[in-house]
Amino acid sequence: MPLSITETNLRNLIDLLVQASKLVVGPKLSEAIVLYQPLTSGAELTLDSIPRRSAKELYFPVCEDILNFKKENGKVQVEDIDRSRFPETVLIGAPPCDAGSPAILDAVFSWDYHDDFYQERRKKSTIIGIACTKGDDACFCTAVGLAPDAQAGSDLFLTPLAGGSYACVAVTEKGTTLIEAHSSLFSEGPVGEVIPFLDQSTGKLDLPKIKAWLEGHFEDPLWEGIADICIGCGACAFICPACHCFDINDEGSPDSGARRKHWDACGFSKFTNHASGHNPRDIQNKRYRNRIMHKFKYYDDKFGKTLCTGCGRCIRVCPVGIDIAEILTTINSKSD
């Protein structure tokens, strides 16, 4: 039986979850930009534009302590982070390009090292995804195999309807549990008309073909053309739902401090700097090439997935307007 929820009840759901001491995260206006942030009430939810950063910070925080240390009586005490203190989280209002990212990242965070920090947060989170009616000409989720109404990654999926309500589908058990816990907010009955999705300007990409081209063109003039203008900041990597590189630093004083894990970007000039001083990716060409290779070849080689959800944020945010969708389309159209 199809389910639906009104906008009012959606906001009520948030209030109830907040009262139940869950960490409720959703798009919220913060000084004129929309970001995924903890919500204190349903009224704060803003669904009229895509958040500036992705939702990956739910499991992959911008910055988190991974251990604390303190020097007492000449001895150093090391204290691990109590994972049970990770909050139970409900993410609400994630479009498929954001909801789909844990499905891609799960593999790398449980590969050669079981990253507890990521995994524990994942276990404790529920995602309420929402179909996207707010795309623009930077979006290309359909080109990389996703869609504005793709349910992958969501526990509960909402589709905006003409009239202001949302059709709801429980995609996983967590979703079913959530609905059952708040059944009074949902109504059964025929769903209304779905709001049409935006036609994306980037055509469908043949990802295997692109991967094959990348395999054979490690040295190609294409890389210089793009990387000449790349300025080597981390904007594209940081706001990307799929990028997951991090750095670990010890900070504090000799007496006390913490070891911190925080976002890093392969675009930074010292990203591959070795202790010897040798830097394999010493020029921007090599660094930008690595970005594309990692996303569309290496990750697929290792985990069978493309490291991109087509959200288009990197295109919008790039200081020099580098357009990954355009680059992929160019590669896609190459005959050799």
Binding site: S21, P38, P61, V62, R85
Partner: protein, 167 residues
Amino acid sequence: MHAEKTSHDFEPKIIAFVCTWCTYAGADLAGTSRMQYPSNVRVLKFPCTGRIDPVFILRAFQKGADGVLVSGCHPGDCHYMAGNFHARRRFAAFRALLGFVGVDLQRLQFSWVSAAEGGKWVEVVTELTERVRAMGPMTEFKSLETEEQWSGALTTPELREAFDSID
């Protein structure tokens, strides 16, 4: 003769960045002359005020200083000729920046103290110490240190307990 040392609730931490040739010598003179002044000041010796990078002042505040004093030779007397002239411009700019960002400039004092001015050193340090004492501890940077990005923050035990008690 030692003055009565009154006890206070709050003992401010004052960091003083001073130049070797003038202010440090002046402070030394104050010491050898047995002049009494608050012991809250921690002195850091630099060859010249021109060597004092504004980032040191920032770092002092970040690491818990309640007040910062920067002191050097009078203009024209710099051991390195022009170090304090450059410093003067640099500090004027940095002061404006800190003020704009919301730091209370009453906590930051600049002075020229020569090697002969033991008395002035005492005056400057005492004034700054008492002024900062009246203002209370500097909380801005210290409380900032405790802030996390929401995504890295952990729930407090109290919150967890409250959550667990809900069925």
